[in-house]
């Protein structure tokens, strides 16, 4: 009866379709032109940021603007450890560093609700950025760092592996009692606590899991950027973009954030190349239209289309 745990999976059709797409993506660097590989890597990066953001913020309704902080911590970890350790270890360390930071921040701030939590998490991005700037200027006397160079195919595959692990994690969380608990916290946190859910533990763990993937992504993408400094690494756009992508995609289903991230990331790329001077304007217009006319995101649109009631407007 519960859509989360007890509905039988429609595995054969959907499952094999997903498998085919994954295999195609896995072999694409062997055939596709380098530009497509780089473009796909960027799209994967946005999907990872968006889906991991939605793991925590989707069910709980706590709007986190911290993605840029966790992403940036991953980037800096990569810059510091890149030369000393093997690539996969560096990526793991990037994830781990963000995970630990999220545990700390979560334990301190998840008692804040609504807009206070959003503002604090956004403040965190600025705090770390400015701390690093201060440190680099006053202590080391440098500005920014060079990151080891890794070839595009390797970056693609590492990003792809992170994406696949993340999607599996997100899928199983949604179907688990942990996912159900997260959802109940979003519905009514008081009631959740009073039926035995350790709300602090559940929230902090979900927050940290989502940060883990953001950090790992930052660590691998840093190798493509070759040079980073605090302003590049802790760019607040990486906090807002995942939120927008998740909203455009819709958070009711797992594929919502994936769809939103993939479409907007591709759109951004197209607009940048075709309209380099007006792309932000056009991108903004698309977002406004999406938010105004797709209250439940692309997911809502697809569900409406499946039901076939185009003529009606939902009054929600």
């Amino acid at each position: 009866m519960s859509p989360n745990i007890f509905t039988p999976k429609r595995f054969p059709v959907t499952g094999s379709l997903i498998l085919i797409v994954l295999i195609l993506l896995a072999v694409s660097p062997l055939y596709a032109p380098p530009y497509s590989v780089i473009l796909l890597t960027a799209i994967f990066m946005y999907i990872v940021l968006t889906v991991s953001w939605a793991i925590f913020s989707g069910p709980t309704g706590y709007i986190s603007l911290a993605p840029a902080a966790f992403f940036g911590v991953g980037i800096y970890t990569s810059a510091i450890l890149g030369k000393a350790l093997p690539l996969l270890v560096v990526v793991g360390m990037g994830g781990l560093a963000s995970f630990c930071l999220a545990l700390l921040i979560g334990a301190l701030t998840l008692r804040l609700k609504g807009i206070y939590f959003a503002i604090f998490t956004f403040g965190l991005v600025e705090l770390i950025k400015n701390l690093l700037l201060w440190y680099e200027i006053n202590i080391t006397g440098t500005r920014g760092r060079f990151v080891i160079v890794v070839d595009n195919k390797t970056i693609y595959y590492v990003m792809f592996i992170i994406l696949v692990i993340l999607l599996l994690t997100a899928y199983f969380i949604r179907r688990s009692k942990f996912g159900l608990a997260l959802q109940s916290i979003g519905e009514n946190e008081d009631a959740a606590a009073h039926i035995g859910i350790n709300v602090t533990l559940v929230k902090v763990s979900a927050f940290a899991i989502s940060a883990l993937f953001m950090g790992a992504t930052g660590a691998i993408i840093a190798t493509r950027w070759t040079y980073i400094d605090p302003i590049i690494a802790f760019n607040p756009l990486f906090s807002f973009t995942p939120v927008l992508m998740a909203i455009v995609g819709g958070m009711g289903q797992l594929y919502g954030p994936i769809l939103g991230a993939a479409m907007l990331a591709y759109l951004e790329e197209v607009l940048i190349t075709k309209f380099p001077y007006h792309y932000m304007l056009l991108f903004g217009a698309v977002l406004v239209v999406a938010v105004l006319y797709l209250p439940n995101g692309l997911v809502g649109l697809i569900q409406k289309w499946r039901k076939g009631d185009w003529g009606q407007h939902a009054n929600t």
């Binding site: 009866m1 007890f6 519905e187 008081d190 009631a191 959740a192 606590a193 009073h194 035995g196 709300v199």
Partner: protein, 239 residues
Amino acid sequence: MRILEGEGVTQYFGGLAAVSHVDFNVNQGEVVGLIGPNGAGKTTLFNLISGAFVPKSGTIKFKAEPITGLKPHQICRKGLARTFQSVKIFANMPVFDNVILGSFFGMSNSIASADAARVATELLEFVGLSAVAATPAKDLTLANQKRLEVARALATRPELLLLDELMAGLNPTEVAQAMELVARIRDMGISIFMIEHVMKAIMSVCNRIIVLHHGEKIAEGTPQEIATSRTVVEVYLGE
């Protein structure tokens, strides 16, 4: 045997004593009513017992073990569940999920999914909500939402259940059904501590009644004693 015992329980909001030096107890298997005019501190007392607030002073013991200072989820897992005056259901989740969450998380040891599902199914049957198990909780009537809260609380396998105005806002038929539900919960061997304004209900179902006024306990006794008590009548009707 006393299952719940409070001594000198006190809570201030600003300078106002919402609950002031209140002693209370609930015996095993007993149904105890908590009444008093609006603002008497009844819900605050429940919030102190369930761990939503920590009392300024005084101790609360559950099964002879102090629970003051514990978090709500810890108190729930010890076997003390509650419902809320203004219903706090998981509105957008199916009725069934609301209840199964209680059985997943409300017990001190973990439970297999199949067992949790069985408990939830049985409890929905018990409160009469089997037919709407797949409906989003927000689509239920108020009476059914209150029943859902009871089922969710029962799913945590409590030994003591706190009912905060189960019957407020219900029509006479629904009140009668709710009274019958309370009696059936008592017959399961679960002790009940209930806040209620519907006098007919509280007089017929309770073994004992505690009366709060301005945060202080002003009377305690059997329904007959309370109904005839001069102090209680004065508090409710004026002198």
